[in-house]
Symmetry: C2
Subunit: 437 residues, 2 copies
């Protein structure tokens, strides 16, 4: 059984249009979903716990008596961790340790200490960096419940110094995912509520008697969650609205084609909208990858998802050379970029836009998804042109520090007044002039 | 003529509710404006230049023959700069130099070099930092056209290394603001188009034959611009949607009350919705500030705006002591926080949330607005709880770098496979296992 993947050649005259067509993805903006989310948010804002309880019991088919009853006590998280088989518990702990180590390095290297400098006249300028007070982490329930995402969202917040990390995760029909609870225990999540949907977003944004209001909400969710996050943006901070996951593989044609086929599968198995693209200068190698795909697909438990994803959104692209592949990669600005080649750093130096780069034949994306250390929450849908992996910096903010000396006020006051008069803001000018001797 | 400003006392039982009432501000979400913006965006996306030209000629009452004719050539920017009086030109240049110096420092101190480290088994992890390729800066036309904002938006982008900075500024009835053009010349803006409104946002987000598509749009605008920015978020990056400007003054009661009154005016004169609040432990001093306000208001050219702002949104608050003032300041999370006191650093150390802190009696906010160096684009409406001043970091993004060695793949592969099986993602597991020997 074969998979018919689109093949493109960069030498074709209309290649760029064809590529743009392959990349085109617009999240359905469903007005009905948006209105439903707005209604739920308004109810939670007005009626607090009562609304959260009603929606949760209704949508998740529960009979909870209060929102307090929806909280999972820490003892239960720890029990879930204790109950794991040793190998899985060890793997989760190793992953958490490596993610923490990378983000601690990131915290140090990315200016978390702030800075300050003194000018000749005694004026001091600088920047103070502080963690957010309280953060909410949305974790999807059901089939897309990934313990690795709990680690990737909670650990950077804790490394940043966020005192309160509140996790929400819906439990339809009361079914809890023990790996997710164990991950929350390992990541140091402070409180967990089994609520989801727009009602959970509303509870975190506005606060209720039981659920504390947070300063930022991160983590992926369904269309209602995304619509609700967009609407509460400004009341609280939010992370990017994630699109379908993508992998772009640049291969020089010397990697085992089975490896590349499986790397393409690993992205495609996420969901039908996921996107896997290969760029390679070697046409014969592309054929070998196609053959590997056809050979390996039958063994995949999620083969239907993979087949749909590769058929509808995948592409095997013949390029002129690796340099052209890098140029095309900059246009695509992929979430995950694998450079499976002999001199990966040489090509990585040409890449300006990518969420995460996986260099060399041994750096399969799956390693980064779980345990290499860097975050797996990455910009999708070409947004790597302007945004970054989730990181410690997302849980910090800066304040400018301005301490003007008496001498400094003499020089700066004249400049400020001159410009303030130019803008017609006389109180600004006077305020500066008062400080002149 | 006196101004009746609301007075509060933190000792009152319902103080927190009263304070919350004073701070409450919800941007009117006008469905009609949002729909109009959506219509304009769709037209620009579909018809490009033709739509931009039609809307511009209609809304700004122009008769341009093409979008190309709406571009201001660099020679005209330079001519505007040359034509300025020497004192104003000098002030603009000094401000630009100081803003550039601060942001260059910020670039160095905030991890722009990225980082990289090698683990014992040869695996290399790190982070690469790159500038955005192209950025759009929206500059409002008419009465709120501030040359200082051109500097504050464009200079950090240039310091970050953005190659193309495209400025848009509407010119209703064809009237151009020479100070704005001069500021664009000084800041190193690459191209300027005299377009505005949702049509300018659409042109920058989608690109037209004449106007290049950008990766991020920054800068304030009216309700149509804000609605359009919200809608293109995701296609491009955007900065925060700014609310009304605010100042919070913490004063120990020893600063000349005229200075404090004028500082409160300098915020209030921006617009009727601007907010000025004083926190002070000395009731008699608060009376002196009120007296200064009444004494000084008559001389202010913008006294009607100041009066409305202070009457509707201002407050003079008696607090127990400076420590309590800091605690309240953390709740308010003000855009501008002036600490006009004998030991300003002592109190600044207690502040967790503020856009910019102005320390000491000589650091009037006006100095920071124009020329101290730090950015004057700051988080408003309590968003300093989770966001930061505009900075070099807003024009950069990060990519994670993962180069797993053959030896590293042996350890990481087992951990990743274990967790992937736990999540039911078999292709992920196989992809990791292929790299095991």
């Amino acid at each position: 059984m074969t998979i018919q993947i689109r093949t493109l050649d960069s030498a074709q005259a209309d290649f760029r249009q064809q590529l743009a067509h392959v990349l085109a993805f617009e999240a359905a903006e469903d007005e009905a979903i948006d209105r439903a989310a707005a209604t739920i948010l308004a109810a939670v804002k007005t009626r607090g716990d009562a609304a959260v309880l009603e929606y949760t019991n209704k949508f998740d088919r529960l009979q909870a008596g209060s929102v307090a009853a929806l909280e999972i006590p820490r003892a239960q998280l720890l029990a879930a961790l204790e109950a794991l088989p040793a190998s899985r518990r060890g793997a989760l702990q190793t992953a958490a340790d490596r993610v923490r180590a990378y983000h601690e390095r990131q915290k140090i290297e990315c200016g978390s200490a702030g800075f300050s400098y003194t000018e000749a006249d005694g004026t001091v300028l600088g920047q103070k960096v502080t963690p957010l007070d309280r953060v909410g982490i949305y974790v999807p329930g059901g089939k897309a419940a990934y313990p690795s995402s709990v680690l990737m969202n909670a650990i950077p917040a804790k490394v940043a110094g966020v005192a309160d990390v509140i996790m929400v995760v819906p439990t339809p029909d009361g079914i809890k995912n023990p790996l997710v609870l164990a991950a929350a225990a390992i990541a140091g999540v402070d409180r967990v509520f089994t609520i989801g949907g727009a009602q959970a977003v509303g509870a975190l944004a506005y606060g209720t008697d039981t659920i504390p209001a947070v300063d930022k909400i991160v983590g992926p969710g369904n269309a209602y969650v995304a619509a609700a996050k967009r609407r509460v943006f400004g009341v609280v901070g939010i992370d990017m609205i994630a699109g379908p996951s993508e992998i772009l593989v640049l291969c020089d044609g010397s990697t085992d084609p089975d490896w590349i086929a499986m790397d393409l599968f690993s992205q495609a198995e996420h969901d039908e909208l996921a996107q896997s693209i290969l760029l390679c200068p070697d046409a014969a190698y592309i054929d070998r990858v196609q053959a590997s795909i056809d050979k390996l697909i039958g063994d995949m438990p999620r083969q239907e998802v993979i087949r749909t994803s590769l058929t509808n959104r995948g592409a095997l692209v013949k390029v002129r050379d690796m340099a052209e592949a890098c140029e095309i990669a900059n246009f695509i600005a992929a979430e995950h970029l694998e450079i499976s080649a002999a001199e990966p750093q040489r090509w990585a130096d040409l890449i300006r836009h990518a969420g995460a780069m996986f260099l060399g034949r041994y750096s399969s994306e799956a390693l980064g998804d779980y345990c290499a250390g860097p975050n797996h929450v990455l910009p999708t849908s070409r947004t790597a042109r302007f945004s970054s992996p989730l990181g410690v910096y997302d849980f910090q903010k800066r304040s400018s520090m301005i301490h003007v000396s008496e001498a400094g006020a003499q020089t700066l006051g004249k400049v400020a007044a001159e410009l303030a008069y130019g803008e017609g803001l006389q109180a600004h000018a006077r305020s500066a002039e008062y400080r002149l001797k």
